[in-house]
C-alpha cells in the first residue's frame, strides 16, 4: 500500500489500533480540504498494531483532544519534507468543548451557549467528569 509522504503537515503516530476514526471525528478532520490519510492496523514493534493519521497541511491541532483520546500518540510536525518537531502528549486536566455532556438533566442540555467542560478526576483510569453535573464522560 503506497501513501505519499507529506511535505508540510502533521503525522499522528502510535495511535492505539482502532482509535484513529474517533480522533478523526473529534479533531474535525472531515472538514479539511487537504489530503488526510488514515492508516489502520499497521505493524508496530512497540504496540503490535497501531494506527497512523497523516494530514497534508500545516493546521493547528488541538493537543487536548489527542491527549484525551490516547496520550500515547506522538505528534510529528513536518516542514519541507523533514521532521521539524516531535511532541509527546500529556493527559489534559480539562477538556473544553471536546466532548458533550450526555446527561439530559445537566444545565448544558438546555443552555446552548455554555462551554462543555470536563475535568480529569481520576488520572489512573483516565476518568473525566462534567464540571456542572459530575456525569462521567462516556
Amino acid at each position: 500500500m503506497n501513501i505519499d509522504s507529506i511535505n508540510n503537515g502533521i503525522v499522528l503516530d502510535h495511535i492505539t489500533a482502532g482509535l484513529s476514526m474517533r480522533l478523526y471525528d473529534l479533531l474535525g478532520l472531515d472538514s479539511l480540504d487537504c489530503s488526510v490519510a488514515i492508516i489502520k492496523n499497521v505493524s508496530s514493534k512497540k504496540l503490535g498494531k497501531k494506527d497512523i493519521i497523516k494530514i497534508d497541511a500545516d493546521i493547528p491541532v488541538n493537543l487536548d483532544v489527542i491527549g484525551y483520546v490516547d496520550p500515547g500518540i506522538t505528534v510529528n510536525f513536518i516542514r519541507e519534507g523533514k521532521l521539524y518537531e516531535k511532541k509527546s502528549i500529556a493527559i489534559p486536566e480539562n477538556l473544553i468543548n471536546v466532548i458533550k455532556c450526555k446527561n439530559p438533566r445537566c444545565i448544558t442540555s438546555v443552555e446552548q451557549e455554555l462551554n462543555h467542560v470536563f475535568k480529569l478526576t481520576d488520572r489512573k483510569n483516565r476518568i473525566y467528569r462534567c464540571i456542572y453535573c459530575e456525569t462521567k464522560a462516556q
Partner: protein, 306 residues
C-alpha cells in the same frame, strides 16, 4: 468570589466553624439580629420548594437583612429565555448574596461563575443540596456531640436520594464512622458512591434489606421516602413499601439515644405515632437548617466583604 455549590467545597474545619456559629446563634439570637442590616438576599427559585426557600428567607430576616426573589421560573426572566449566566449577572447588581434552586444540575455553578456576589446552591435537580447536608450535620452534632465513632443507618431510597449521597460524602471525612445501608435491592446505594466515597475513605459499611435487624446497633437512623415512581412495576412497590415505614414497633430494639432524621417532606415512611418519641429529630432538623443557613450567609458575606 466564594460560593457554596457542593458540600465538599467546605473543609472540615470550615464546617466546624459554621456549626460553632450556628450554635452561638441558637444561644444568643439577639446578638445576630442586626448583623445583616442593609444586606439583601436574592432567592432565585426556578422550581418550587417552600421549605428551603422559607428557611433561607427566615434566616436572612433573623439576621436583620432583606429578601428579594421569585419562587418559580414562570415569574422570572427565564420564561423569556434568559440564560442562568445573565440572570446571575443581573441579580448581582441588586443583591449581596444569592440562594438558587434550579431543576437542571450544575445551574448554580454556572451562576457562581458569572455572579459578582456569593451564590449558595439551594438544590440543583437530583445533584447537590449542600445546605440540607449542613442542616443534617448540625443536627448530628447537637444530638450526638461529635461526628466520630457513630453508626449511621440510611434507610429507604438510597439510589436517587441526593441528601443521602451528600451526607455520606460529608461523614466520610470523620473517623470511626460505620454506615448501614438499608434498602430494597432496586434502590441500593449506587456503586460509584460505595467505591468513590465509602471504600476510598476506608469507611466500613454493610448492606441489608432488613430495617429491624439493623436497628439495635444504630446511633442515627436517616429515613428517606420510597417513591412509587422509582419502581418499574407496581407489584414490587407494593411488596416493599411497608418494609420501610418506621413505627413504634420497629423502634422497640433501638438504642435509647437513637437520633431519627429525615430530610422531609415525609409522606408515610415515618408513622405519625413516632413524632412524640423523644428520639424523633426531624422537626428539630428543620429548625437547625435555618440556623446553619444563617451561619453560612454570615460567613459568605463576611468573606465577600474582605
Amino acid at each position: 468570589m466564594r460560593s457554596l455549590i457542593d458540600i465538599l467545597d467546605l473543609s472540615v474545619s470550615e464546617i466546624d466553624d459554621l456549626i460553632k456559629t450556628a450554635n452561638d446563634i441558637i444561644d444568643n439570637p439577639k446578638a445576630y439580629s442586626d448583623r445583616c442590616r442593609g444586606k439583601k438576599l436574592a432567592t432565585l427559585f426556578f422550581e418550587p420548594s417552600t421549605r428551603t426557600r422559607l428557611s433561607f428567607e427566615a434566616a436572612m430576616y433573623e439576621l436583620g437583612g432583606n429578601v428579594i426573589g421569585f419562587s418559580e421560573a414562570q415569574s422570572s426572566s427565564a420564561s423569556k429565555g434568559e440564560s442562568v449566566a445573565d440572570t446571575a449577572k443581573v441579580i448581582s447588581c441588586y443583591a449581596d448574596i444569592i440562594a438558587m434552586r434550579h431543576p437542571k444540575e450544575g445551574a448554580p455553578l454556572v451562576a457562581a461563575m458569572n455572579a459578582t456576589v456569593p451564590v449558595i446552591n439551594a438544590g440543583d435537580g437530583g445533584h447537590n443540596h449542600p445546605t440540607q447536608t449542613l442542616a443534617d450535620l448540625l443536627t448530628i452534632q447537637r444530638e450526638k456531640g461529635s461526628f466520630e465513632n457513630l453508626t449511621v443507618g440510611f434507610c429507604g431510597d438510597l439510589k436517587f436520594g441526593r441528601t443521602v449521597h451528600s451526607l455520606i460524602c460529608a461523614l466520610s471525612r470523620y473517623s470511626g464512622i460505620k454506615v448501614i445501608l438499608i434498602s430494597p435491592e432496586e434502590l441500593k446505594l449506587p456503586s460509584y458512591v460505595k467505591k468513590d466515597v465509602l471504600a476510598k475513605n476506608g469507611i466500613y459499611y454493610e448492606q441489608t434489606q432488613d430495617l429491624e435487624s439493623a436497628m439495635p446497633q444504630l446511633d442515627i437512623l436517616y429515613m428517606t421516602r420510597v417513591q412509587r415512581e422509582r419502581f418499574f412495576n407496581e407489584e414490587d412497590y407494593l411488596r416493599l413499601k411497608d418494609s420501610y415505614i418506621l413505627d413504634p414497633r420497629k423502634l422497640k430494639n433501638a438504642k435509647s439515644d437513637l437520633c431519627i432524621m429525615h430530610p422531609l417532606p415525609r409522606v408515610n415512611e415515618i408513622s405519625v405515632a413516632v413524632d412524640s418519641d423523644p428520639r424523633a429529630c426531624y422537626f428539630k432538623q428543620v429548625l437547625y437548617g435555618k440556623y446553619i443557613r444563617m451561619a453560612l450567609i454570615l460567613k459568605l458575606l463576611e468573606e465577600a466583604g474582605k
